[in-house]
């Protein structure tokens, strides 16, 4: 089986609608303060940006076989997280497609807090590749040529 075939075999095995399960964590004051320090924005509303909910849940299920380096995000933000509140996240594979001979997975994660407040819905646009192939190997070369 060629490398391309292997790539497609893994990608094809992941169905649209696949339940990626759930996770939860407490958004602590320290996490918020650290995030704000790192991004240089002392009032940043959504430290969940660094939590990468879609990727986080995807890798709990598929880390051994597939990577989804992100080429984009489609997200909506409803209520900023509150320090000390537990955040519950669930995710699914929302879509998959091939574009310019590359395989993509769209992973959607919904986050709510312990009081039922909707925090955000985030869709990761992942350039799907099997773990047997270096991440971004094909596009990295092109990028770095552009960079000189």
């Amino acid at each position: 089986m060629s490398e391309a075939d292997q790539s497609n075999a893994v990608w094809e095995s992941i169905p649209v609608g696949d339940d990626l399960g759930t996770m939860d964590y407490v958004m602590t004051e320290k996490m918020i303060a650290d995030y704000r320090e790192v991004v240089g924005n002392p009032t940043a509303a959504y430290p969940t940006v660094a939590a990468r909910h879609p990727a986080n849940l995807f890798y709990r299920k598929y880390r051994a076989v597939m990577r989804v380096p992100n080429t984009g995000h489609d997200s909506q933000f409803f209520n900023p997280p509150i320090a000390g509140k537990r955040i519950f996240v669930k995710a699914t594979v929302a879509d998959k497609y091939i574009r310019r001979e590359k395989t993509y997975l769209i992973i959607e994660a919904t986050a709510t807090d312990e009081d039922g407040r909707l925090i955000e819905i985030s869709r990761l646009v992942g350039l799907a590749r099997p773990t047997t192939r270096p991440a971004l190997a094909d596009v990295a070369g092109k990028w770095e040529k552009k960079n000189g």
Binding site: V39, T43, A44, A45, Y46, N70, G72, H73, F77
Partner: protein, 150 residues
């Protein structure tokens, strides 16, 4: 009171350097992903790159800051964004997010402003492009006043 935006308006912005050390820390705050091509030069090489690159979410943080500053509550409570990362960002790069209002209207009786987005590197290269949607700008910063995310 915040002035309503109109088509052709540009959002107020800022320029900031992506510091290598903070790029690495970005991978550890909230969710520590361990070693990867955004935080470890050896992992980057294994992934076919000559050095570490900033994650797309790091650029997303630039968009958030610009939109928070310009829209206040109108962005933070209900804002929507679609962004694509089209060129790598390295430690030491200086990034400027941009926003240009392309449409102003109403959806379900509520104001809706559409903003074309892009992030530019110090040499003028666009590193990300996208679109954001929010209501007309608000003076309110409720997430700060109410102690949310603080």
């Amino acid at each position: 009171m915040a002035e309503p935006l109109k088509v052709g308006d540009k959002l107020a912005s800022f320029t900031r350097e992506i510091e290598e050390a903070k790029m690495v820390l970005f991978e550890r705050v909230v969710w520590d992903r361990g070693s990867n091509s955004h935080s470890d030069p050896e992992a980057a090489k294994r992934d076919g790159m000559s050095k570490t690159i900033a994650s797309g979410q790091n650029q997303m943080a630039f968009y958030h800051e610009m939109l928070e500053r310009n829209f206040g509550d109108a962005w933070v409570y209900g804002g929507k964004i679609s962004a694509r990362y089209i060129h790598p960002v390295y430690g030491g790069d200086r990034l400027t997010p941009h926003g240009l209002v392309t449409e102003v209207g109403e959806v379900d009786g509520k104001p809706r402003v559409t903003v074309r987005l892009w992030v530019e590197r110090q040499d003028g290269t666009k590193t990300s492009v996208g679109t954001a949607w929010a209501g007309q700008p608000s003076d309110k910063r409720s997430w700060i006043r109410e102690g949310k995310a603080s």
